[in-house]
Subunit: 354 residues, 4 copies
C-alpha cells in the first residue's frame, strides 16, 4: 500500500493540476474511501476562476462515489469494501444546527456555521482524487444497493439533492403550477423534483435547445426559450401567477423574474449562488403585503438523504443518467473542466473516473 | 331614520373632511353596522399624504367596532343590535385564494387578487363614519363577548392581527430568540406575539423612549435604542444570530438589519410596507446558501381570526388597551390625524368615537 | 320548462326508486345544474343497506358533473350553460371551520359541525337526478376546461379527492415508503396520490386480482395478495417499517395492520369509515412512546380543490378513467347498484348518465 | 481517584439498593459526569414495580445534572469542570432516525429503533449515581449558564421537555382552547407548554387539590376536579370542543375523554404510557371522518433541546422549581421512592443529591 495518491489540486486562479499527494488516513469517526466515480460541479468552475476562494493546495470536488478502504475508530455498521455514496454536504449530526434539523448549516459539534456542512473541496480535501477522507463517517456513508450503478447515484450527491430541494423548500403540492428558471443540471433536477411532488403544470425556462429538450424528459410540460419569448409574460398568460417559482442560476434577472411570475401568496424557492446586491423591487412583492415567501436552500446531505434519493432512482421515477453526457479519466480532468466550462458539445455533467 | 350620515371623506392629498354622505344599505350577503369605535392607522396617513392612492370621495378607515344596524338577505345567525368586531381585511371565503387559505389575497369569488382582502377605506367606503357596510358579512361579523369593551377589541381588527402574524409567519417556537425592528403599534404587537408563542429572548429595537418602555410591557426582554447602539452588533453579541427577525417599519435599513441579525437557517418575517427598490445584499443571505426564509404577511382577517384574538384578550395574556393613548370624536378627526401624524404627546394609537 | 324531474329517491332499507320529484330552484347564493354524469359511491350502498341513516324521500348521490341551468342571486362569474364539476363536499367558506381551513367540517355559517361539509345525498337532495341544487355555489362550482370530458372529471368529486388526501394527510415526502391497505376505488386513488407525491416504494394490499392489477397501473411498485401472504410480515421484510400507511377500508384488521407496518415516527393516514369500537393495541404504538401519528381525513371539497385535481388530470399524471368500468342510464340505476354492491364483473366504479 | 462509586441499583421487583459499583470511564465520543442533582421519574416506579422490565444490576434514573469529570477522545468544545445538563433521551445524531429529525427513535448509528433514544436507566447505567457515562457526548452535553442553578434545570431533562412536547406536537396556536387531562409533573408541564404557545383557554383536569392549585400556577385558566364534575361535559359546555386535548396519564379513560372533548378537526396529543389495549370508539372520531389527529410523543432530547429549555427558564416565562417538593440524599433514595410512590405529603417531584 502506497502512501500517496493522484488528485486534482487547486494551485491558484486557472491553475489546477493532477499530481501526487499524501493519501489520507482516517481518524476517530472518519473513513477513507477509494473514489470510483465523481464529477465536476459548477461551483468547481467558480473556484477555478477565482470567483469562490479556497486555499491553494486543496484537492477540489465534492460528489463522491466509492468503496470503503479504511474505517477509523468509532464507526460501526460498515466494513471495508462496502460501496458507498457520500453527499456533497457532510453534517456532523451533533451540533446545535444539526440537532435543529439544519444539517447544511452544520457547526461541527458547536453552534451554527453558514454553509458549514459543505466541507469537501471547500475546507477539507475533496473528491477529485483516488482516495477521500470522509468526516463524520457514521452520518455520511450511504451504502449503495447492489442493483444501482455508480452512474445512477453519483449525481444524487449534489445535483439531484439540490434540485429536488428547490421543489421541497417551495412546498410544491398536488396540483401546483411551477416555473423553473434555468435548466442547467440543478434546474433540470428541480424540474424533476416538481414533477415528483405532484405539480400539475411545470414550465421550464432556458435558452439552450438541448437543455429545453432535456427539461421535457425531466417532467416539464411547457418550455420557454427566453431568446424568443418573454418568460414572465408567457408564464402569466398561462397561469395568471404560479404557486412556486424556482430559481436555479443566481442572477438578478432570474431572481426578479421568479418574483414577477408568482401569484399572491406564492413562493420563490431560490437555489442559485448570488454575487453582489440583489434588487427586490417593491412591486414584485405587492409592497410587502402579498403574503409572499422567499426561501433559499443549500444542498441537503447526510446518509439518510442519500438513502432516500437512491430509493427514488430504484423506483424508476427519476433517472439521472441522461444528465451525464461525458466521462473522463482523472488525468484528463483539465479537458473535462474545459468542456464543462465552455458548455460545448451539449455537455450537462461530466463524470470523472479516478 | 335618516338617509345620510357623518363620515371622514378623502378629497385629495392632505384634504380630508368630515361631511354628510349617503348612509349605506345592505345588499345580499351584506350588513350595515353603526360604528361605535374606530381608529386611525398608519396606512391612513399614507393615504392622506398621497403616498397610497385611493379615489377621491372615499370614506377612509378600516378598524371598525360597532352594532349591527341592518342585515341583508342571506346572512344568518346574527340579529340587529349584536355588538361586532370586523377585521380590517374582509375575505369572501369563497374564491380560490380564500379556499386555499390565503384569505388576505381574496379575489372576491374569483381567483387571487393581491391585497384583495383589504377593501375598507381602500376600494369601498371605510370605518371613519357613523355607519359602515360590511361585505361578505357571514364571514366577517365577529360577535363581541359581553365581558369585553370596545376599547379592548378595536385594535384586534388590524394592529394586533398584523403584529401577531409577524411571529406566526416567522414560525416562532418555544425557546426561540427574536428581534423586532421598530416598536410602533404593529411592532409592539409583534413583540407581544413573539412572547405569546414562547420566544425565550425578545429584543426590541426603536429610538423612542416611550415606545421602548411600552415594548418591555409587551414582552421585550432587552431593548435597544438605535440612537445610542448599533442594533445589529448588539443582537449578534447577545445571540450570535436570532432564529426570527421581525421587520415592522418598511425601510431598507430595517429590512437589511433584520437579515444581518439572522442565524443561518433563520427567518425574516416582514410586516412593513415598502416603496421603491429593496436591496438584498448577497452576503446577508450567505450568497443564497444559508437556508434563509423571508416571509411577508398582510393582516389576517375574517371572523374566526377576530374570535381567536378576542379570546386572547379575555385570557389576560395580551392587553391592547395601553396602546390607545388618545381618544377623539369623529368631528375632531383632523386633530387626531395631526397628532398621530406628528407623533407628539407619546401617541401610539388614537381611538375615534363616531 | 317542466317543474319536475327524474331522480333516485331513498325510501327505506333496500328500497330506492327512480321517480318524478320536484325540480329544484336556486335561492340566494345557490345554483341549479343539469346533471350530465354522476356515479354510485360505497357510501350510497351503506345508505341503501340502512347502515348509514338518511331520511326517506331523499335523493341520494354526491358526485356531480353538469351544466349550469340556473343561478340564484349573488352568484357571480358564472353563466347558464357553463360545464361544472362540484365536489362531494360543499363548504360554505364562511363559517369558523371553513375560515380555519377545515372545509370538510363546515358549520354552514356558524361554528364546526362534524362531517358538516357533506350535504349532497346526506342532508340535502343529491346528484342521482336530472337536476341538482348546489348550495354555496360561489364556493363550489368548478368550471371544467374544454379539453376534459365528463368521464375524466367525475371521479374527482369524491374518490380521487379522498384518495389523494390519504397521501397528503400522511405527509408523504420524496423517497418515502408507503403501504396502502385495500385497493377499492379510494385505495387505488390513494396509491396514485402516494405516487404523485414522490413515494419511492408503494405497496398495495388487497385480495382481488383485478384490483391488484389496477393498483400497479395507479403506481404500486409491489402488490400483496393477503389471501396468500401475511401483508404485515411482507411489508416489514421489505421495508423494516414504512413511513406512511394508508387505511382505505374501515375495518379493525386493516387499521391495526397499518399500525403494525409503521416505523417509529411513522404516520397512519386513515380514510375508512369505521363502525363499533376500534382496538389500538399498545404494542403497535410502542406503548405511546413511538412518536406515531394517526390522521383521519374526510374528502376535501370546494371549487379550488376541484380545479387543482382537474389540472392534475390535464397534465396526464393521473388518469381516473380506467376506474369507471361500467356505465348505466339513470332509469337503470337499480341494476347499477346491484352490480356495484355484488362486486361482480370486475366492477370498480359505475357511471350514471341522467 | 477511586474506581468505584455509590449508585442505586435495580436488583428485581421492589428491590433497589444503593451500593458500590464500578465507576464508569469514557470511551471514544463519550463523557463521564459527576452527578450533582437528579430525580425520580414515574417510569422509575414502573421499573421498581416490575411493570417495565430492565435487567437486574442496572443503575436506574435518567434526569442528570452534573459536572464533566472526564472526556473521551473525539469530544470537543468541552472541558473538565463544565456544568452540564443531559437530556433523558440521548440521540446519536447520526442514524437514519436522527438525521430524519426523529431523535427520540434513535437507532444508534443504524436505522430506527422504537424508543431507542432512551438509554439511561433503561439499556445503560443511569443517573441515580455519583457518576454517569454519557453516550454520544458531543450531541448531549448542554452547558448550564452560570445564572441557572441545578434545581432550575434538572426537570428540563425529562418532565418539562415531555410536557412542552404535548403542546408542541398538538400544534397549539395563538387563541387555541386546550384541555390537559391529569396534572402530575408531566401534565403540569404540558399546561405550562400550552400557555407558552399562546393558548387562550387552558383547562386542567385532575382530582388532587394541590395539583389543581399548581396547575393554575402553571397557566391553567379553569380547573376541573373529576371527583365532583364530569370533565367531558364541562369542557364541551365551556368550549363546544377544544382545538387540542393533551393526555398525560396513560389510561383508557383519559385517552377516550380527550377524544370526546375534541372539536372536529382537533388534535389529541398523547404523552401517557399505555398498557393493554386501548379502545377507540368510532363515534369519538366521527366514524373516521372528523379530520382528527392523534399524535404520540416521547420526550425530546439532545443538547439543543436542553439549551432552548434552559433559555425559557432564564426568560422567567417558566419556573420549574415549585415542582420539586422534596430533596433527598442518594443514600436516602429508598425513602424518596416510597414517598414518591405513595404520593403523600403533596409530593410532585423529588430531587436526589448524590
Amino acid at each position: 500500500m502506497t502512501n500517496t495518491m493522484r488528485a486534482n489540486v487547486f494551485h491558484g486562479v486557472n491553475d489546477i493540476r493532477v499530481e501526487q499527494v499524501a493519501r489520507p488516513r482516517p481518524g476517530a469517526g472518519e473513513a477513507v474511501i477509494r473514489v470510483t466515480l465523481t464529477t465536476i460541479c459548477g461551483t468547481d468552475l467558480h473556484i477555478l476562476r477565482g470567483e469562490y476562494p479556497v486555499r491553494p493546495g486543496l484537492v477540489i470536488g465534492h460528489e463522491p462515489v466509492g468503496v470503503i478502504e479504511e474505517l477509523g475508530p468509532g464507526v460501526s455498521g460498515y466494513k471495508t469494501g462496502d460501496r458507498v455514496l457520500v453527499g456533497a454536504i457532510t453534517p456532523c449530526g451533533q451540533c446545535l444546527a444539526c440537532l435543529s434539523g439544519h444539517l447544511s448549516q452544520c457547526g461541527h459539534g458547536a453552534g451554527y456555521e453558514a454553509i458549514g456542512g459543505w466541507r469537501f473541496g471547500n475546507t477539507i480535501h475533496g473528491a477529485q482524487a483516488e482516495y477521500l477522507l470522509v468526516p463524520y463517517a457514521q452520518a455520511n456513508l450511504a451504502k449503495i444497493p447492489d442493483d444501482l450503478s455508480d452512474e445512477q447515484v453519483v449525481l444524487l450527491a449534489d445535483i439531484a439533492s439540490t434540485g429536488f430541494s428547490g421543489a421541497e423548500s417551495g412546498g410544491v403540492k398536488i396540483g401546483d403550477s411551477v416555473v423553473v428558471f434555468a435548466q442547467g443540471p440543478i434546474g433540470l433536477c428541480a424540474t424533476a423534483g416538481a414533477k415528483l411532488m405532484g405539480a400539475s403544470l411545470i414550465i421550464a425556462v432556458d435558452a439552450d435547445d438541448r437543455r429545453l429538450q432535456m427539461s421535457r424528459r425531466m417532467g416539464a410540460d411547457v418550455v420557454i426559450d427566453f431568446r424568443t419569448s418573454d418568460p414572465v409574460a408567457e408564464v402569466m398568460k398561462l397561469t395568471g401567477g404560479v404557486d412556486v417559482a424556482i430559481e436555479a442560476l443566481g442572477t438578478q434577472q432570474t431572481f426578479e423574474s421568479c418574483l414577477r411570475c408568482l401569484r399572491p401568496g406564492g413562493t420563490l424557492s431560490s437555489l442559485g449562488v448570488y454575487s453582489g446586491k440583489l434588487q427586490l423591487p417593491y412591486n414584485t412583492i405587492a409592497a410587502g403585503l402579498g403574503d409572499h415567501r422567499i426561501v433559499t436552500t443549500l444542498c441537503p446531505g447526510g446518509k439518510e438523504r442519500m438513502r432516500r434519493l437512491m430509493n427514488v432512482v430504484r423506483s424508476g421515477r427519476f433517472d439521472p443518467t441522461p444528465l451525464i453526457t461525458h466521462t473522463f479519466r482523472l488525468d484528463q480532468i483539465k479537458d473535462a473542466y474545459r468542456l464543462f466550462g465552455e458548455r460545448t458539445d451539449g455537455v450537462l455533467k461530466v463524470a470523472i473516473r479516478p
